[in-house]
Amino acid sequence: MTVPASAIGIASGPSTLAMFLPPPLHGQLARLTPLDIAVIAVYFAMVLFIGFYLRHGSNTSEQFFLAGREMTAWIAGLSFVSANMGALELMGWAGSAYQYGILATHWYWIGAIPAMLFLGLVMMPFYYVSKTHSVPGYLKLRFGESSRILAAFSFAIEMVLMSGVNMFSMAVVMKVVLGWNITFSILMSSLAVAVYVGLGGLRSAIYNEVLQFVLIWAGALLVPILGLVEAGGWHKMVAKIASNYRDQDYIHLWRDTAHFSANPMGVHWTGIVFGLGFVISFGYWTTDFLVVQRVLAARNLRAAQMAPIIGSFFKMAVPFIVILPGLLGLVVLQNPDGTLLHLVGENQVSVANPHSFNEVLPLMMVRYLGPGLLGLGITALMAGFMSGMAGNVSAFATVWTYDIYQPLIRKRAPDSHYVAIGRWATVLGVVVSIGAAYLVMHAAGIMDYVQALFSFFIAPLLGAILLGMFWKRATAAGGFCGLLLGILSSVSLFLWVRMDPSALSMVALSPDAKSMAENLYRALWSFLISVAVTVVVSLLTRPRPIAELEGLVYGVTKLPFQEPVPFYRNQWFWAVIVVVLFAGLNILFW
């Protein structure tokens, strides 16, 4: 899941090599050795080489925008997860784990796994059979041009702005951790993404995402391993957390969610289950084109169905390299005098408390990783950033070309023309992202608003897509009105709480609710409004003939016959294993 605004604010305060040196203001966490620089240079050389190498295989629109629809389930699945594993996701959620404890794991388990299985088993056949190039493209087929244009514009704006925010945040991290110039970081990483996506299209983005996925694990896995060694193992870590922080429970997933005030996150289990586990999670994993595009690139329906299931295994494992370092930070990070180091919120950083929650992962990296390994860890963060940005830019290029340029500017043109537009849209996406990054740099206050954009669109879009896919009676007018009013209601709720913070108690249904609960309940309300409006307007307008819904709606679509395969290649078999693992993990850490 995308990092919430409350967890994503990136350190701009003073930092230093935490456990060895006193904390000088405006210092940096670490210095790279020539070996670290060599590790980073090899990575950049490899991703650029892949872009140049694949440029010949991206000559048609099918090749450029959908990678020729010939990816294996493994490649599509890893790319599917990798496009979501941005560097800010890694650092933001490690910071959230330090701040909220193991509750942050919900965003990786209930906030991802059920939705990924639903995408693979239930929704993918419709996306795949309709042969759409994009999620807005499906809306056009189901609800008509107006819904497509609304979804396309909102998605395109969201993509480039999010990309810009991530780019700026990553540059700030590089400045804090390594002392790098912000403009240098922005230009170096964004130009590399522009080159390899512009040349090789989605295929190049996917290839690099697989590479980046491996790198993220290779660079980050050592931190929790060494952290557990230092802490004396899992049980000793849990005991130390319990003794260091007696007033809060950091180590239970569900036990203390019956009351908003009983857990550090200030959430209630209804918000986690319905707001996160259903609306936000299903909205993101099943309708956000950034991730759906990766699965659409699979070479056949079975591969497309298997890809999210394969991805879900790895998604379940991500807390090991993200949440666990945050928990370990509660135990092992120390001041130079040997006392426990306390990380604080961004607005509380001072000489006495020089580090924020969001610095916990870099702090853990410099604690354990020496020359070479630190370069690999930094490369993992950069790879995470670039995979996220490549996902944004490649999805933007597709939506811009097929859902904005083609219907509104030039309806009929040779295939090569649309490929050229896609390449230029990639460059345009990167340039606008850089502009957005500098906009955020000079007006930091808008960062919260830009990040909230994500939550404005996905919940209403989920309402429109679910009703369109599973309710024959849903009409074009119903879908459009539901989508529009859902977005407007989400924006209104957001602005209401910003202007009057006491409104949070009404949005989240409790005076004890905290900002995280607001995100969950705002999504839930906007989804319910979107659904209600779609249903009411649909019942008041004339339905489409059933024959026109073939291939678009459950119940009137004949799904393609799939050749029988041995049970170990069947998507349902692996989905059951995922469900058992998912249930077991939740019970284990209850």
Partner: protein, 84 residues
Amino acid sequence: MRGLGIRREIPIWFFVGVLLTVYGALIGGHGVYGWVTHQRDAVVLAGLHAPMWWGGILLILGLIYCVKFFPGKPTLRQGATGKH
């Protein structure tokens, strides 16, 4: 890469193998040098010589992937994207 007029791409897994091999050699080499010369990096748990064994793991994995997915080597399913 080209055979019978059909362009066959290098599998992504080969690229993964090359990258892991190079990283394994660089990091593992540094770790072995530190172990032999008794030079410890200024990090916590330096005595575990993490660069040596972590680099070794990366190197072995990388070599396995390089050999298994070497371009042009017949695989069960020679798709454009390789097979895993």
